[in-house]
């Protein structure tokens, strides 16, 4: 973690809605098909959402409200099991149902993130085999071997030390077994390979494996060191070096040596990429921040101004003579504009959508409140034509 002192961390390079404490590392999404899944009580830990890709008589996706510390994973899963049991839920699981584990990377530096990705990709063929035959080549979680464009993406990002080229590609890499697009949205790497098990306790070893990879990745300075470690040891010793006591989980997989070699061959291309520009140091980062302070840009040109991320501007209410009130849609007043070229297209689109949705939600809330509290008539002719309905 000393690198964090030398280099800025992801949460400084990219602005998130919320930065969680470093120990809150694990986020879990569990997709389930079956019966009696719809009724879900208010819970402090879990919430129920819907997922369009699921089928079955009933389907649901259970998501942790916030990332939780590693030590609380078992408790949280027991909690969900108890809720489903109380509801007499019946799980009928298909290949569509998966468990998506989010590992918080907000406090990692760019190089630590690349090391984590590389270490995972070395072991990916083994890890996906561990998740079961049906996950190999599954279109919901394609391995880097099946969709190698992910390797090109990481190579390019590593060569230029450019976080945005890795995470700013919209959802083009969402269905890879490791989803890097999730960093932009949640500040986490999403691992999608595990099929939902009947017994949720089976999720724990998978979370342990992914978490162990994260902690081990801190021990490598560069991806090249990972390759060198493989060259130095036999595969068994390499796995023990990387996964320590959890290596036994992968030891029974068929063609273990061959699969490990496949992973190594993929990561070699990243590890031996010529570095065109090294990662920005904290000193350079602070310097750049200082230079840009007071200008129209925020320190990071790809991050929105603080003012822009605040809630939508309040709705201005104009009192009309005949006691009717008209509401002026928000966003009409003067606003600080920033040059659009400074924001990557994907980020721009998504942020624009989100802000528009937030603005409209606030706007309609205001209308509802006005109607409920004042019992007055809203003159829709004052609204823009596309919002009159």
């Amino acid at each position: 973690m000393d690198n964090a002192k030398l280099y800025p961390v992801i949460s400084e390079l990219q602005q998130f809605r919320k930065v969680y404490p470093p120990e809150h590392e694990i986020g879990i999404e569990i997709e389930v098909e079956g019966r009696n899944l719809q009724e879900f009580p208010m819970s402090r830990t879990w919430r129920k959402t819907l997922d369009g890709s699921l089928r079955g008589e009933e389907s649901a996706e259970y998501v942790l409200h916030h990332p939780i510390p590693m030590k609380n994973v078992e408790k949280a899963l027991n909690n969900l099991t108890a809720i489903l049991k109380k509801n007499n839920a019946k799980k009928e699981l298909s290949d569509r149902c998966g468990v998506h584990i989010h590992i918080n990377v907000q406090h990692m530096t760019f190089m630590e993130l690349i090391n984590y990705l590389c270490l995972y990709l070395v072991l990916e063929p083994l890890l996906v085999s561990y998740c079961g035959n049906s996950r190999e080549g599954n279109m919901f979680c394609l391995r880097a071997k099946d969709a190698p464009t992910l390797i090109d993406l990481i190579m390019n990002s590593y060569a230029h030390s450019d976080l945005y080229s890795l995470i700013g590609r919209g959802n083009h890499f969402r269905y890879a077994a490791v989803n890097v697009s999730s960093i932009r949205k949640h500040g986490s790497l999403e691992f999608r390979s595990l099929k939902t098990p009947k017994n949720f306790k089976k999720i724990i070893p998978w979370v342990n494996l992914l978490h162990k990879l994260k902690t081990t990745s801190y021990t490598f300075e560069t991806p090249e060191e990972i390759i060198n470690a493989y060259s130095m040891y036999e595969y068994e010793r390499f796995l023990s070096r990387v996964l320590e006591e959890q290596a036994y989980l992968l030891m029974d997989i068929e063609n273990i040596n061959q699969k490990l070699l496949e992973g190594i061959r993929l990561v070699q291309d990243i590890a031996f990429t010529d570095i065109i520009s090294p990662p920005i140091t904290r000193k350079q980062f602070e310097q750049k921040k200082k230079e840009l302070t007071g200008s129209v840009f925020s320190p990071n040109p790809f991050v929105f101004e603080e003012a822009e991320l605040q809630e939508a501007p309040p709705v201005r209410v104009r009192v009309l003579p005949n006691r009717e009130r008209a509401l002026i849609p928000p966003g009409e007043g003067p606003r600080v504009q920033r040059p659009m070229w400074a924001i990557p297209e994907a980020v721009r689109d998504e942020r624009a959508d989100e802000r528009e949705a937030d603005r409209m939600a606030t706007y309609f809330d205001q209308i509802n409140q006005q109607i409920q509290h004042t019992d007055t008539h809203v003159d829709i002719t004052d609204l823009p034509p596309d919002r009159r309905e």
Partner: protein, 223 residues
């Protein structure tokens, strides 16, 4: 209706499979239409990749190989404009991790990197081309044949000898080695019988040796 291999009705099966390339046994096929035909069986209308005629068959769902097809260099031989010889137009084909409701290789999830400067945009559909069939099946000439071909008068372009390795005439008179991940950047040279990798690409030595060893042992191809 019961669910078989993730398909729960004919419509959904057709959405997932049509207009994409999967394998029927070991044969790469472009699915035109798919639907259930009783328990664990399906009716397929398909074009074998590289063929021009539609076929219709009823098979067990277990006969469908839904794992992603192997990709890499794709080469197309076109006659030279001078009338003598040929140009080998080479692209790199890879898959994007986009779902877009298709299990197989489709227009939505295919990525084509064209290597030749003149480009190669003459395909009506790359998904049914015989060149894609050769790429999926890993059918390439060997290194010796690639060298011989490039030495002939009127032959130009890039000739792959494996899905990950290709050969190009170098300016110095020998041949440059290319790797599918490094695209147009030469990773080494071939002069006479000697293969030498550039310093920064020595890590590819083991993979290249494996390919060449395999070719030495194999029966020569007839390309």
């Amino acid at each position: 209706m019961s669910e078989y291999r993730g398909f729960y009705d004919s419509n959904q099966m057709n959405h997932y499979l049509s207009a994409s390339v999967i394998r029927l046994g070991t044969l790469p096929v472009y699915i035109v239409h798919a639907g259930f035909a009783g328990p664990a069986r399906c009716i397929l209308t398909y074009v074998p990749v590289g063929d021009t005629y539609e076929k219709r068959t009823e098979v067990s769902l277990n006969a469908l190989d839904l794992t992603p097809v192997s990709l890499g260099f794709l080469v197309r031989k076109v006659p030279s404009k001078k009338g003598i010889g040929a140009i080998f137009k080479t692209s790199i084909i890879s898959r994007l991790p986009i779902r877009a409701w298709k299990i197989g290789l489709s227009n939505e999830n295919i990525r084509v990197d064209i290597l030749n400067e003149t480009g190669d945009r003459e395909y009506e559909s790359i998904l049914v081309s015989k060149e894609l069939r050769d790429t999926i099946n890993g059918k390439y000439c060997n290194l010796q044949e690639a060298k011989t071909l490039l030495s002939l008068e009127g032959i130009s372009g890039i000739i792959p000898f494996h899905r990950h390795f290709a050969l190009e005439k170098s300016n110095k008179g020998g041949f440059s080695l290319l790797h599918y991940r490094h695209k147009k950047v030469p990773i080494g040279e071939i002069n006479g019988d000697g293969v030498s990798l550039n310093k920064s690409f020595r890590f590819l030595n083991e993979a290249l040796e494996e390919v060449l060893d395999g070719q030495r042992k194999a029966i020569p191809s007839n390309i």
